[in-house]
């Protein structure tokens, strides 16, 4: 059993090479056995007599010679493998049980000023601890990025040590609490946890350890708990925390007059360390063969910097975007970030409306109806990026939803159960649905059924609430949260809202799960959204009033155009957020995707949930495939922002977080102790080797250079 060996090989591959080297003398032996052209001979009488008298002795001599020749490469390989004697293993085992928790999270890639990674230091310490074990002792290794899977066969110390040499730090975030829980559970289930020792080997940098997440792990009585770190060296590290577009959908053929926000991406940089002034570095944005490079200069103490970059129209973003900062810092993994961007020629809108039914409304040219007002807002000029298809709710078919990005429902009351299920399908595939109340109805029974058809539990009052006097719109009390469709115009909104009056609106109920985008003056919801990433991947925006002059003066106010543009673009953008994710997590790839692939690694997608079946192992632009095997888009997977923060953790905070029963390891104690136990075996081996070489030379001369068969 390798674990019982009384020595350790520093370079085991050399020993393997030595073992392979045995084949050389054997090969020579076999070559000499090959059949030669026989020599015709007359005096066979003497030949046979001589051979039969010496055969046994010759064979014995040749066997000895062959053995020596085979032993030479073996010993040479063994000597080059640098075996060291493990004196401690010669002693009987003490029944120790060691649990090593090694932090292999992305932040363990941090390189210190000596050029050594945190992870390498953890492995050195782990090896030192393992070397102190004796036969019969037990060792189990748990990695913090994957606590569930413990190293197979880890109870064998020799195997564990060899395995440690094969592993490398992950790109995934560290999950120390989960690892502690896993080890705790193992110890609880073990028969004698009292003789166990737990070593937590982590650098406790801020990126890999969150003191706000309580581990609440109580280990059984008598278990010895030790930890290394936190590493106190401040290392310089600059990273790209965010690489995001203003819109998740990029319109390819947007004209120069279109708002430039479609072509803008935002890059957020952050740095750790001493934050010295005047530090400059290059920031490259790479899209296929197109490359934009600019110099970033940091001010003293400046830790974050956001850079906006407008992409030229002619650049094809379908293969993804990569941003890279050229910095010679302590970690290279976070110097790059990827972005997948969906591009489209235009936003396709299906307007389900029935204009003209209400003659009373159409009597006035000044009030053409909600559907028409929305069309005016979305297509103010001839070069609009919106393609609007108007259709009566009672006649539209499933096929009409093909390639549609947004469904605007101004007559939800006319949508039956079948049509409702089609719209739900649209939501499930990441679409946007905008619902406004029918302007002509006086009672609104449709809300509950429409809400139900879309998988929501929202409801509203049967009758609209009349505002007398009319009320203006307002921003919600809570600040507009990140990801809100109206985030980009949040600065201009207050002024626009003031001038808009609402005469009547529906009173919403059961909207706890909804995001309130705009309110009325009294704080009651005016426009809400919901569903995205919750019930379905798509998004639903619900207005409590239609853009109709009977309900509001919004159609004639400056708010109308930017509001609907932002509701649709922003709403659609949030609905399509499936194109990004983080390493080490289960990522939602969306429905219709069966697998994702990158650099030879393929991960299946669970059909029911649309998420990956395993956590993402590494960064990059992953390609999504449908059930026909066709590529249907890209997924940009990056390290979670903050997970590469190399700022050293506060020793006191770490100590408090772990608890009083944990003892901090002295920096080099285990290593120093272990070296004394391992005298090298190289010299004795070389001595034996020299003796064998001399023996081989002497015996080779005495005997002969080959082995031969007998008579016959």
């Amino acid at each position: 059993m390798p674990g019982d060996l009384a020595f350790i090989l520093i370079s085991p591959w050399m020993a393997v090479a030595g073992a392979v080297g045995v084949s050389i003398p054997l090969l020579i032996h076999l070559l000499f056995r090959r059949r030669r052209k026989p020599v015709k001979w007359a005096a066979m009488l003497f030949l046979e007599e001589a051979w039969s008298s010496r055969r046994k002795r010759i064979r014995l001599e040749q066997m000895i010679l062959l053995f020596i020749r085979c032993a030479i490469p073996v010993l040479l390989g063994l000597a080059l493998a640098q075996p060291v004697l493990d004196g401690s293993r010669l002693l009987p085992g003490s029944g120790r049980s060691i649990h090593l928790i090694i932090d292999d999270g992305v932040v363990s890639n941090t390189t210190n000023s000596s050029g050594q990674r945190d992870f390498d230091i953890h492995i050195e310490r782990a090896t030192s601890i393992l070397e102190s074990l004796k036969p019969g002792d037990r060792a189990v290794v748990t990695l913090t990025t994957d606590p569930k899977s413990t190293q197979a066969g880890a109870t064998d110390v020799g195997t564990t040590m060899n395995w440690l040499k094969t592993i490398s730090p992950s790109e995934q975030p560290s999950r120390i609490p989960d690892a502690l829980m896993k080890v705790r559970d193992e110890l609880v289930e073990s028969e004698s946890p009292g003789s166990s020792e737990v070593y937590l080997l982590s650098s406790f940098r801020e990126g890999g350890f969150d003191p706000d997440i309580d581990h609440e792990t109580e280990f059984p009585e008598g278990v010895s708990l030790s930890y290394s770190g936190p590493f106190e060296e401040h290392t310089e590290n600059t990273r790209i925390n965010r690489l995001e577009p203003l819109r998740n959908i990029r319109i390819e053929r947007s004209s120069a007059n279109d708002p430039s926000i479609d072509r803008t991406i935002m890059i957020e940089l952050e740095r750790d360390g001493n934050m010295l002034p005047g530090t400059s570095m290059r920031l490259n944005t790479i899209i296929g063969s197109w490359n934009d490079s600019r110099t970033i200069t940091w001010e003293k103490g400046e830790s974050t910097k956001t850079v906006g970059m407008e992409l030229p129209n002619e650049v094809d973003v379908s293969n993804g975007i990569k941003a890279h900062v050229e910095s010679d810092d302590s970690m290279s993994i976070d110097d790059s970030r990827y972005l997948a961007l969906e591009s489209s020629e235009a936003i396709h809108v299906l307007l389900l409306d029935r204009p003209g039914e209400d003659n009373r409304v159409f009597e006035s040219r000044s009030n053409p109806g909600a559907g028409r007002w929305i069309q005016y807002a979305l297509q103010p000029g001839s070069k609009s990026t919106y393609r609007i298809l108007e259709m009566d709710p009672s006649v539209f078919q499933m096929v009409d939803l093909h390639d549609v990005d947004v469904v605007i429902l101004t007559r939800p009351d006319l949508v039956d159960r079948t049509s409702g299920s089609w719209i739900r399908t649209h939501l499930d595939s990441g679409g946007l649905v905008l619902v406004t109340p029918p302007e002509s109805l006086s009672t609104h029974e449709w809300v509950a059924s429409t809400s139900s058809q879309l998988g929501l539990s929202w409801n509203a009052s049967m009758e609209p609430r009349i505002h007398d006097p009319s009320t203006s719109l307002a921003m919600p009390t809570d600040p507009v949260n990140t990801g809100s469709p109206l985030e980009l115009i949040s600065a201009e909104l207050p002024a626009l809202l003031e001038t808009t009056q609402v005469h009547q609106s529906l009173e919403m109920k059961n909207i706890e799960s909804a995001n309130v985008l705009l309110t009325l003056e009294d704080g009651s919801p005016a426009i809400i959204s919901g569903g995205s990433r919750g019930v379905f991947p798509g998004n639903v925006i619900f207005m409590t009033f239609p853009p109709s002059m009977n309900w509001t003066d919004m159609p004639t106010r400056p708010l109308m155009v930017p509001l609907f543009h932002e509701l649709i673009r922003g709403g659609l953008s949030s609905a399509r957020k499936s194109s990004s994710g983080f390493v080490g997590e289960f990522v939602d790839a969306g429905h219709g995707v069966v697998s994702i692939s990158n650099d030879g690694v393929r991960i299946p997608i669970i059909e029911e949930t649309g998420t990956t079946s395993t956590s993402i192992p590494n960064r990059g632009l992953w390609t999504m495939f449908d059930n026909r095997g066709a590529a249907v888009g890209q997924l940009a997977l990056n390290t979670r922002p903050g997970s590469t923060d190399t700022t050293p953790g506060d020793p006191e905070t770490v100590s408090n977080w772990l608890g009083g029963e944990w003892t901090r390891l002295e920096s080099d104690s285990t290593r120093t102790a272990s070296h004394g136990n391992h005298p090298s075996l190289v010299f004795p081996l070389l001595l034996i080797l020299a003796i064998l070489v001399i023996l081989e030379t002497v015996m080779g001369r005495m005997f002969t250079r080959s082995i031969h068969s007998g008579v016959g």
Binding site: F32, R35, R36, K37, P38, V39, K40, W41, A42, A43, M44, L45, F46, L47, E48, E49, A50, W51, S53, R54, I58, F703, T704, S706, H708, S709, G710, V711, G712
Partner: protein, 328 residues
């Protein structure tokens, strides 16, 4: 001390009798003649030596007798014409027994240019033991015929292959040469059978000269020698071995294939060289002892050496035998 003329004659004879010279000659007959020239050049004892006519008795002269044979001393004392009557030596039968088994095909001496000769040399392109044995046999036959001996040749392997009955005619040597040059070399060696067959053909007491490598169990050979003694024949055994067989200087591990039995043995010569040489020495000693015990003679020839010594030795043996016979 040899005078220069004698020394020059020796060198000339040596060059005639050396295998390196002989194997240059494509015709076996020519080769045999070359040996004869070597003998004539004076290195060895004269072929007429031993051809003395010995006095037998006196008789009264009768007309017609050769006056040269009158004993003038007797006439002076007794005034009687008396003729010295001489007894011509009984004609000696020299029988050459040449081994033509496959083992005689072995040879390692290489020619300097193309040459032919016996079946052995034609098939192996080397100066074989058989070449050496037949060259020696041809020379011996010539010498014997010069002594007016009757010469016969028997070729044997697993049994008697070919025979040429003993004669002392002028054509006999040519026939001997012709027989030796045509003989195929094949098969194993069975001394017992072969010698039994040959001895059954010979009634006169004869001098047998066996030319063979004698690669046979010494016990078997000893019983064969006893058969010659039993029939009161004399025997000279000339063992012909190749230099490589004697020295065994092969270096590379290889497989050795027995020329007679096809047995194969794979070994490294360097490992058993000493043992081999010791076996060879033991065999030779036993062979020699077996012959000496029976009153016979033995000579070992290296096929890379000249044939001269063997010829001298056989001539000496002939004289000795004749003396012994008269004494007996």
């Amino acid at each position: 001390m040899k005078n220069p003329a004698q020394s020059s004659g020796i060198q000339k004879a040596e060059s005639y009798l050396a295998p390196e010279t002989l194997l240059q000659l494509s015709s076996f007959e020519l080769r045999a003649k070359m040996i004869v020239e070597g003998i004539r050049s004076g290195l060895h004892a004269s072929p007429h030596q031993g051809m003395s006519v010995e006095f037998n008795q006196h008789r009264t002269y009768t007309p017609g007798d050769d006056l040269r044979h009158l004993d003038w001393k007797v006439y002076g004392r007794s005034d009687r014409l008396t003729v010295k009557q001489y007894e011509q030596e009984t004609t000696l039968d020299v029988l050459l027994l040449v081994d033509c088994s496959a083992s005689m095909k072995f040879g390692t001496l290489e020619p300097k240019s193309g040459w032919g000769g016996t079946d052995g040399s034609r098939s192996s392109s080397r100066w074989t033991k058989f070449d050496h044995a037949t060259a020696t046999a041809a020379a011996l036959a010539w010498m014997a015929l010069q002594n007016t001996d009757r010469v016969g040749v028997h070729l044997f392997a697993e049994g008697l292959q070919h025979s040429l009955n003993q004669r002392s005619t002028e054509q006999q040597w040519r026939q001997v040469v012709s027989l030796l040059s045509r003989q195929a070399i094949e098969g194993g060696t069975d001394f017992n059978t072969s010698i039994d067959q040959i001895l059954s053909l010979v009634s006169n007491r004869s001098l047998f000269i066996i030319l063979s490598d004698f690669l046979e169990n010494p016990g078997v050979l000893r019983s064969v020698f006893a058969k010659f003694l039993h029939k009161r024949h004399d025997l000279l055994c000339i063992q012909v071995l190749d230099n490589e067989e004697i020295e065994f200087n092969n270096q590379d591990p290889t497989s050795f294939l027995d020329l007679e039995s096809e047995t194969e043995i794979k070994l490294d010569p360097t490992l058993i060289r000493d043992s081999y040489r010791e076996s060879l020495r033991n065999h030779e000693a036993e062979l020699r002892r077996g012959l000496v015990d029976h009153g016979f003679d033995f000579i070992q020839m290296n096929s890379h050496d000249p044939v001269g010594p063997a010829l001298a030795r056989s001539a000496s043996r002939r004289r000795e035998w004749l003396k012994n016979r008269h004494a007996g």
